[in-house]
Symmetry: none
Subunit: 249 residues, 2 copies
DNA sequence: ATACTATTTGCAATAATTTGCAACTTTAAT
DNA sequence: ATTAAAGTTGCAAATTATTGCAAATAGTAT
């Protein structure tokens, strides 16, 4: 059995039970507990789970201080978050948008990664406050009540000053011809500024949003580098790749 | 059963019943009361609940969501806050700095006043989120961990764009000749930008800070419009007025 | 294919943590 | 003050982690 297979099985079981025990896994995977331990350690380093004494639990989104925090086991978006983590490398400058998807990435972020994060989201800034090695650059602007993000011209100008390595954007709708679109004018404007300030753009979306369109334009579809979806096994990935020409994960 | 599982169960039950008893938990979790006690202590250290005699209760939801929030009945500063409110009029543009004094003003602010508040403080923005008629303009910049304010050139540039009616600044030291000074270079720079962007400047200070000086210069003393102190009966007010030439409240 | 290197895996010894118990101290209520 | 319940402390037993090392496996170049 390949190591990757074990990883897959561990993560699957973790998703089902919200916990895994070393002894169980050792039995199921037919390897020693040491190996399971090492596997868990490796997955933990990737931020895909949290290693605890005797086993592992899902990388717990630590409670933070904003109302609109996402509930514990939001499976779909959690999957997206875990996939997204693989794209982040030490020392990068990353733009995080204000949606809940990006928020979950921040929550799932390992504590030891060194990053510069540019964001317009209070919740994300608040989460990252506990990450010693993450520098947070906050985009000023008009504060949008309820969603705790800044918007407006000031915000846009702030993002324009950067050339980030990577941008995580919770994209609303993606359409091959109509491009990326959103339901809110001002937020879409801000999203455009983010997208245009980053080398690599990771769109966070659910499958059902693909092929649909909203009122306000963000950017052409081919500007996206990667689309991350909530599909655990991306059977359709190649199919969509053919249609869209973008790498799916 | 993993320790994490116990934690999860304790928190879940706490969410349901708003309380948990040591003896019950000991029975449910099948561990000794000592262990439950230790678990509760650990969770309490993380701020996830409050340990009380015989069990635990949910962590009391404070007025807002930031760690460094000031306790409600901080008398001295509360006095300052109440005095400060008299200066605020409907429709004004007000700058609030990041200190705890300004925070208390925000907390004491009536819900029905219409204001535009410019600030670089997360806690203040968070507090004002509940004020329907207050528009919050947030100054971007580098996020200072622990104190939850933004600083740096970006922040300064943001404030420079405004001409506010009034500015509340938690001043550290005020000296007749040496002027207003602070202990931190970057924060002092930001304060200067705030002060220079406002018509009226209300310094929030305690009496013992008067006549002292710190390392970093903010502005000349005569640039202040008013000094608000924690002295309930301002007997010395006239005396200080004579010395400083500034109205005391 | 073969030989060589690098990685992975299991095992054993050692270290660290967790847990329950017992003795003792503190707290709260009568 | 007295008393019972809860909390604290120290300690030994059990469980879990870590480390070094040798055998097995996979990968690579000749």
């Amino acid at each position: 059995m390949l190591k990757e297979e074990r990883f897959q099985l561990i993560l699957t079981q973790l998703g089902q039970d919200q916990k895994v025990h070393l002894t169980d896994l050792s039995h199921v995977l037919k390897v020693s507990e040491d190996t399971v331990r090492r596997d868990i350690k490796e997955l933990a380093d990737q931020g895909l789970l949290k290693s605890v004494r005797g086993g592992a639990v899902p990388h717990s989104p630590g409670p933070h201080r904003f109302k609109d925090r996402v509930e514990y086991g939001n499976d779909q978006k959690q999957i997206i978050a875990n996939k997204a983590l693989r794209f982040l490398k030490d020392g990068q400058v990353a733009i995080f948008d204000g949606g809940t998807s990006a928020m979950l990435i921040a929550q799932a972020l390992p504590k030891d990664i060194q990053l510069t994060v540019v964001t317009n989201s209070f919740p994300i800034a608040s989460i990252l406050e506990e990450h010693e090695k993450v520098e947070v650059l906050f985009a000023g602007g008009r504060l949008l009540k309820n969603s705790f993000v800044t918007i407006g011209n000031e915000t846009i100008q702030y993002f324009r000053k950067f050339r980030a390595d990577i941008c995580f954007s919770g994209i609303c709708s993606i359409h091959p011809e109509l491009g990326v679109t959103g339901p809110d004018y001002e937020e879409s404007e801000v999203k455009r500024a983010m997208v245009e300030s980053s080398r690599e753009i990771i769109a966070l979306s659910t499958l059902e949003k693909l092929g649909t369109a909203e009122a306000y334009y963000v950017c052409p579809t081919n500007q996206l580098t990667t689309i991350i979806t909530d599909q655990p096994d991306n059977l359709d990935a190649f199919e969509i790749y053919k249609v869209m020409g973008i790498k799916m994960v």
